[in-house]
Assembly symmetry: C2
């Protein structure tokens, strides 16, 4: 009897909050219909499904603040969601149905573009591709670029410190943010929307919110750094014998072309083979296979000729086994198609056990050797399929299991593979999440593979900024 009563009270508290929230955001600002809600309650690979009391989509910062304040008063958790393209389910509410989903998609104004200041101010719900296009229209470049750019949102990019293919030259999202506007856990608005290149007036508070995946505040707008548009990009694919050669190649090319290397991607032989096997209209641009391939984008005044001149001595010294330079845009796209098709090709092979790890750039080769050895010892059937961003020390170290491994064994083996790789990453001072964040999918791994001191500090910061644990509870830490 008592239990029912408490439950009824809880439900009615939830319903009361829902009414309050609907009043805040108005008629077009909320969804409770299960069918309409469904896509917002799971992440795109459908590995996690949640529930929500209600989804609200405020279209002003004041509405966001009022929503968070109402939730804080009711002690109900708020889960902020952008384009919901994240890899670790950081934007999906839990299964309880008691959490409020705060979708930022309608908060999508470009507030200001200032080409002279090389900056722009955009709201959290702006699609990354739209921001790139707006910068372009103003004669500037916003350099963040990643697979989900057609649907991911700036707020999500900031809150996950997004990476992508241009990090080598321009840095991660953290490096591209000049200022932030954030709704705090008590529903107050922190206005840190500055456009300053230098500021030592006290602690740099915006750093707290970048990469904290909505657990310390809800980002509502950002001042972004813009850049000059690069010149024409020259692309080439190089065949190299070892990952060390790739690292040495990058180090030497940086000496000759400081700042002009836009991308420097590594593709392992097996990843290349999967692509050639499964993706139509792809072909290896070399006469024979090589253990590793490097795909580079360069912003060179001298174009193809300058690149050929650069490569010749490196080739003479044996650092480059073979090289092909794209002579036109079609050839360039064909090379990049090989890189961009890896994930799709992997799906044809049943999908791998995915690891988005980073180690010091100088230690990439050692990591690859050790990882292969420890897998060979611990899970001999494992097939590593490796690609990544050399300049960032970031590898997508995916591992496939052969078809003949029974389903019943796959879970256990997967866990063993991941344990083996993360142990190595930890030993080498690396990160178990280079660019995909933690969300809920890697939360336990973060706990297991972090220094206890790290976790203690993170929890102290979380407690200081969100003492009620209202913001994205259960994510990250």
């Amino acid at each position: 009897m008592r239990v029912t009563l408490v439950w009824a009270m809880a439900e009615s508290a939830g319903q009361k909050l829902a009414q309050q929230l609907k009043a805040i955001v108005g008629n077009n600002g909320w969804i409770s219909d299960p069918t309409e809600l469904a896509p917002h309650l799971t992440e795109w690979r459908d590995r996690v499904r949640g529930n929500a009391l209600l989804m609200v989509s405020p279209n002003t910062v004041d509405q966001v603040a009022a929503v968070v304040r109402a939730c804080a008063d009711a002690e109900v958790v708020v889960v902020a969601q952008g384009g919901n393209t994240g890899m670790c389910a950081g934007a999906v509410p839990d299964e309880s149905g008691e959490q409020v989903l705060l979708n930022l998609g309608r908060l999508n104004r470009i507030r200001q573009v200032d080409p002279l200041d090389y900056s722009m101010v955009v709201e959290a719900g702006c699609i990354l591709a739209d921001v790139q296009a707006e910068a372009q229209r103003n004669g500037r470049l916003f350099p963040l670029s990643l697979g989900g750019e057609g649907s991911c949102q700036i707020g999500g990019n900031v809150s996950t410190n997004a990476g992508g293919i241009n990090v080598l030259r321009y840095g991660t999202m953290r490096d591209l943010v000049l200022g932030l506007e954030v709704v705090l856990a008590d529903g107050s608005v922190w206005n840190g929307l500055k456009s300053l290149r230098k500021d030592t007036a006290g602690y740099d508070l915006k750093q707290l919110f970048i990469g904290s995946e909505g657990t310390l505040g809800v980002i509502t707008a950002a001042t972004l750094k813009l850049f000059p548009r690069p010149g024409e990009i020259t692309s080439a694919m190089l065949a190299v014998r070892t990952a060390t050669d790739a690292v040495r190649l990058l180090a030497e090319m940086r000496e000759r072309l400081p700042d002009r290397i836009q991308a420097f991607e590594l593709i392992g032989e097996r990843a290349m083979c999967y692509v050639l096997e499964h993706i139509p209209a792809t072909r290896l641009p070399f006469a024979q296979h090589s253990p590793w391939y490097v795909l580079i984008d360069l912003d060179l005044a001298g174009g193809v000729d300058q690149l050929a001149g650069l490569l010749e001595p490196l080739s003479d010294r044996g650092l480059v086994a073979d090289a092909v330079v794209a002579k036109n845009n079609a050839e360039r796209e064909a090379l990049w198609r090989l890189r961009h098709s890896i994930s799709e090709a992997e799906r044809h092979e049943g999908g791998g056990i995915k690891h988005d790890i980073s180690v010091p750039v100088g230690a990439l080769h050692e990591f690859l050797v050790c990882a292969e050895q420890s897998l060979a010892r611990q899970v001999p059937v494992a097939i590593p399929v490796v690609f990544g961003h050399v300049g960032d020390g970031n590898l997508h170290y995916n591992v496939h299991l052969p078809e003949n491994v029974p389903n019943a064994d796959r879970g256990g083996l997967s866990a063993q593979v991941t344990e083996s790789i993360y142990q190595l990453v930890k030993r080498m001072g690396g990160s178990i999440s280079a660019e995909h964040g933690i969300g809920v999918l890697k939360r336990d791994a973060l706990e297991q593979f972090s220094d206890p001191q790290d976790l203690r500090l993170m929890r102290a910061v979380k407690k200081a900024l969100d003492p009620q644990d209202i913001l994205n509870r259960g994510k990250v830490i």
Copy 2:
């Protein structure tokens, strides 16, 4: 009687702690002699004098940890000090004589240099110039460069987020740090000494300590980003009519030379006149005076000819009134001597009321116009002497008062001048401290000109990391 007793107990507690600390750091690790201590108890412009129970100079991280732990147990404040070259007295203990001065100068090993990884690991007490030299010996560049580089230390550079003359191309110290090792307020060691270009595994904790001036932890070592050495630098001085022309010039030059502008300094006419008047062997490199001068350093493959080609169309359009390109190193040094002599020249004029402010780059001109107007209205005798870093929006907006202003009036007028400038900075979304930090000299100004929300957040972070307020109490906030 009772008062005396309590005081005696306090003194004996202090003496007990001093004995403990001496035992931790050993015979060569401490100073209590007043004469030897004196230079460590004041900042270099002698505007603040403090006292200390003892100065300790540990030479291992474990000793630093033990010192902080002992102080935390005794509830005694620890003030970390590097080269003591800061501008805001952030490294000077208070007058009580009860605080412990923790000098990092003996913790000065270069632990590792990895040219392939473009990184090095150095301890807090390493002198900046030594770090630059070590990078150079390894074929790399550590780009931080500032006036005090011959005596300032890396730990201080990190804890104040140092700026300097290469920020436009390479960023501030925050952008140059890959990892940190920090002794926390309870004397435990946080090992965040990673060398990762990408890491989204939880909150980016190192950001907390960068720029927090020793109030959140004592930095003991840092992993620093290295860069390729730049090519030969071409320098030029340009005469321009307005600050807007300088900003437009920078914006257009960035379009043509992305990433290759190493410095882009602004010098106001009066600053130039002071230099020409007081510094021997200087001369204006133009036939006539101009309201503003721009000094640029470029890393150009095409050298002087390429620069001349670049300047011609800008000059035709009237953006550049006059230009002189340095044809050799002697000419280059003569141009830079004009810039570097400004502070010395100002001292000959009795020294100014100094303001190290920043505003959005696009708003520099508006700031200069408004500042001049509001000074003319509020303190008509004020003489602004302005120079700074255009690309960073950072102005050293110093204000002189004429000789005939009586000493009795100077204090009040100074306060009025600063109030007027900081009000404007605040209104324009700028910073009252672009690169000099807060320390103790700007603490009240930070309180006065910050959003209360900023202060609340800073205090919450401080409390989370240093609940006893043991670390550099009374600084920053």
